[in-house]
Amino acid sequence: MSSTISLKTEFVKGIWKENPVMASLLGLCPALAVTNAAMNGLAMGLATTFVLLSSSLMISALRNFIPHQVRIAGYIVIIATFVTVADRFLAAYLPVISASLGPYIPLIVVNCLILGRQEAFSSRNGIGRSLLDSLGMGLGFILVLVVLGIIREILGSGSIFGVAILGDWFTPWMIMILPPGAFLTLGILIALANWYNDTSRSKDGGVVS
């Protein structure tokens, strides 16, 4: 169907140009809620990417068998299955991270990012393309969550991935590990990204890269 777009483009678009958080503002709930530490962001990103990849695989394979009228219900069942797998896996092998992420792992079911990719992409494209698209989107999601987590952890706790890097002179900014810090950081990141896009676009002479 969409064979005019190269496979590389399908993969790369999710990382910057159509980044799920920065450009489409999808998946904001986990992006804001769990990124008070870099490790949490990474774990959340990996779990979401796993669910995204596996459900894209299933849905693109089954896209001609799922009746159009009940497709959303079908997608949710498939997504919920993989979320349960991820949830139980984390609880069994990484109980500390599972405890710190709390209800946000089961809540991946309702992550608009995943449902959005199924509805907009996997249900209309073949398995290969869908997997590439999901991988790109997943990587973009991980990237944003880890960057958010790193910034908030440095300023809010003075450490990165649990390793203290700032000395005693630094007074942690409590706000950064609280919800307002998440909104502030994400807002500033999006503003910077838009600013960068605008300035680089005007250099190209108005062409959207």
Partner: protein, 353 residues
């Protein structure tokens, strides 16, 4: 000066005859228009007062002088350090933003100076200078320029900076010391709860004379009701602040807290104490009246002040914090666009729908 003027006028003279020479040949409509006597069409307002942004801002700074001077008298070097840090970092932040945005330097308009000064006056005297600078940067960069600069900000930048500091450093932001001139003058700063905190957590009420003169623990510029009133009245008389906002703010605080006090004088503080304590005076005269973030209509100003007073009493009596001036004003700031919309005056002859 006398030598420069003729030299500046000379290069302009050859330019003026050039324009009519080119235009009539190209455009036949040029008959209708004579560039020598232009008709100037400008949108309203057509009458101008002498008020400009810098003029208003410098008057506000003048009005803040009594409170600033008393802060220095009571808290001495601690106050000097915090005020200088806050103001200078506000100016540096403003300059940095100007540089990044590539616009003209806006420091001379005085607004950044006010933001820095107001922020300093709301901070406790023992607050660290590094955090003060951080709050100032946040106030200017996020509070003011992220929203588009002076005139576009939704929230009062100084209060936003204070809210940021309150959320970031909750313990230092609520650690108060007695003024050096107060009872423990020989000690180098003694921590003590503010009158509001004393009442809320220990049920002790303070003497009103201390609240008036400011010889109590509290933020730098909020302790003396008299000093703020002098500056505030100056602003009102010169019409640089809408008198309705402080009046309705104070009146609503007085009435709402009066109702609670009337119901149970033992458990709720008296309305006079409510009026004079905490940052209410500073907030009502200098922060709620910020022209950018308060409603423009007369009715809107009444609603704004009354709402802030109501929220303030609710926070003070039932909230987790002893003081709520900052949050009450910020909340009403958020309502300002709505208030403006619903209190828009009717056109003459407009039929009520």
């Amino acid at each position: 000066m006398t030598e420069e003027n003729p030299s500046q006028a000379q290069p302009e003279q050859p330019e003026i005859p050039k324009k009519p020479r080119v235009k009539p040949k190209k455009d036949p409509r040029a008959k209708l228009y004579k560039p020598e006597t232009p008709l100037i069409l400008a949108s309203s307002p057509h009458f101008h007062t002498r008020d400009t942004v810098p003029r208003i801002m410098w008057n506000v700074i003048l009005a803040l002088v009594p409170a600033t001077v008393l802060a220095v008298v009571y808290f001495q070097w601690a106050a000097v350090g915090i005020i200088l840090t806050s103001v200078s970092s506000a100016l540096v932040a403003e300059m940095l933003v100007n540089r990044v945005k590539g616009e003209a330097f806006t420091i001379p308009d005085g607004s950044a100076l006010i933001t820095g000064l107001l922020l300093a006056l709301t901070l406790p005297p023992s607050f660290s200078l590094g955090s003060t600078a951080l709050g100032s940067f946040f106030a200017i960069i996020v509070g003011k320029h992220f929203f588009g600069g002076l005139g576009y900000n939704i929230f009062n930048p100084a209060l936003l900076g204070r809210a940021f500091l309150q959320a970031s450093f909750p313990v230092p932001m609520t650690t108060w010391t007695w003024p050096l001139t107060a009872r423990y003058a020989d000690v180098d700063g003694v921590t003590a709860a503010t009158p509001l905190g004393l009442f809320k957590f220990e049920g002790i009420s303070s003497e009103l004379s201390g609240l008036l003169t400011g010889n109590i623990s509290g933020s730098l510029g909020e302790t003396s009701a008299i000093a703020i009133l002098i500056g505030g009245l100056y602003l009102l008389i010169r019409k640089y602040a809408d008198w309705r906002i402080p009046l309705s703010f104070l009146l609503a605080t007085f009435l709402v807290s009066g109702v609670f006090w009337w119901i149970s004088p033992e458990s709720y503080p008296s309305p006079v104490f409510q009026l004079l304590s905490g940052g209410l005076m500073l907030g009502a005269f200098f922060m709620a009246t910020d022209m950018v973030t308060s409603p423009v209509t007369a009715l809107g100003a009444w609603i704004f002040g009354a709402g802030a007073g109501f929220i303030l009493v609710i926070i003070r009596l039932f909230g987790g914090l002893p003081e709520g001036v900052m949050y009450s004003i910020l909340l009403m700031n958020a309502f300002t666009p709505l208030i403006n919309r619903y209190t828009r005056p009717k056109f003459f002859g407009e039929i009520r729908a």
